[in-house]
């Protein structure tokens, strides 16, 4: 056997997984090859070192906690038959698709109701010309919207300033 072949089988040799024939061949090679013998010694060293990692005992309340988790899981489970529905809607893809669809439908319905006679609270200017709706909408966000008490006050202040000059 050559070194690369032997080194591939060193783990199985160490773990007692070789046939007696293979074991014999690896043993003979190790006797004559210092490189492979060194490799095997390193492997043994690492193997022994793993023994220093100690076992941990389970906590005293381990079983009690386990039973509680099992009982809780039964209580929080959705009724049988509807589980697939909950799993389906809890998927992030489905949730984001539904959200997007909701926004699109909401926008469409909003535009549709604003432009149709079915919508009773439409501003009166909207019926006069198609562009009027936009004007009203924008003016609502003016610092001093026209026709409001604020606008009357501002006009009064301006007039007063003119009189004093």
């Amino acid at each position: 056997m050559k070194c690369p072949q032997v080194q591939k089988r060193l783990s199985a040799f160490q773990d007692g997984e070789l046939t007696s024939q293979e074991k014999e061949r690896v043993s003979r090679h190790l006797e004559s090859c210092s490189v492979c013998r060194e490799r095997y010694a390193e492997m043994e060293k690492a193997w022994q070192a793993l023994g220093d990692l100690k076992e941990i005992p389970p906590e005293p309340g381990f079983y009690g906690q386990l039973v509680k988790k099992i009982n809780d899981s039964y209580e929080t489970r959705s009724p049988v038959g509807f589980q697939w529905l909950f799993q389906f809607f809890s998927s992030p893809w489905v949730a984001s698709t539904l959200l997007l669809a909701g926004i699109l439908i909401g926008t469409f319905l909003g535009n549709f109701l604003a432009g149709s006679d079915l919508f009773p609270f439409r501003p009166s200017m909207a019926s006069k010309s198609p562009g009027a709706v936009e004007v009203v909408s924008f003016r609502v966000f003016d610092p001093v919207p026209p026709g409001t008490l604020g606008e009357g006050y501002m006009r009064m202040v301006r007039n007063t300033e003119v009189q004093y000059r």
Partner: protein, 190 residues
């Protein structure tokens, strides 16, 4: 003298909803499952949570268990799958660094009747931490194969069944795992 009930018989009783049989089963296997996971993840709290998750799966899947499969192989396969898959979502390297795997109060040198000195305890803890750290830094499959071989003394055939791969793949994993572990431990000493 009471005869010990086999694990396969216990599982048959668990499948019928026998809680007492489940408790016996848990007490029989909890330490090996907990330690397999603890050595794999290097974190005691996470290991406890995952071990309980494995046992919850055993309770739920008891009626699907077929006695022709060896129980330890079956439960270790559940454990290995959980470790290999679940930890990906947990952030596979997040918990592995900067955490001491040996917590205060953990039993060390349990076999010895002589009380070890504080220095001995510290040295043993430090050594254990180094080993755990080196183990955590191995690639996932190499680590799992090495733990199953070293601590549970399973044959290559059993490990192959648990990890759902060929025997030659297990051998290859173990060759690389042992070489890597040696390098990492040598690096620690420097």
């Amino acid at each position: 003298m009471g005869k010990t009930v086999s694990t396969e018989d216990l599982m048959a009783q668990v499948a019928e909803g026998d809680e007492y049989a489940f408790e016996v089963l848990v007490r029989r296997h909890q330490t090996s499952i907990l330690n397999l996971i603890y050595r794999y993840v290097g974190d005691r709290t996470k290991a406890k949570d995952l071990a309980q998750e494995v046992l919850i799966r055993v309770w739920r899947a008891a009626n699907r268990y077929e006695p022709k499969a060896k129980f330890t192989t079956w439960i270790y396969r559940i454990t290995a799958n959980l470790c290999l898959n679940e930890l990906k979502s947990y952030g596979k390297r997040k918990l592995l660094f900067g955490e001491r795997p040996i917590e205060e109060g953990q039993t060390l040198n349990e076999e010895s009747n002589v009380s070890p000195s504080a220095e001995d305890i510290l040295l043993a803890e430090e050594r254990s931490r180094q080993i755990s750290h080196a183990l955590q830094n191995l690639p996932e499959k190499q680590r799992m194969a090495l733990i199953l071989k070293r601590y549970d003394n399973l044959s290559y055939g059993e490990i192959a069944k648990i990890m759902e791969c060929s025997i030659s793949a297990v051998e290859s994993l173990l060759v690389r795992a042992k070489r890597n572990l040696h390098e990492k431990l040598a690096h620690h000493k420097k």
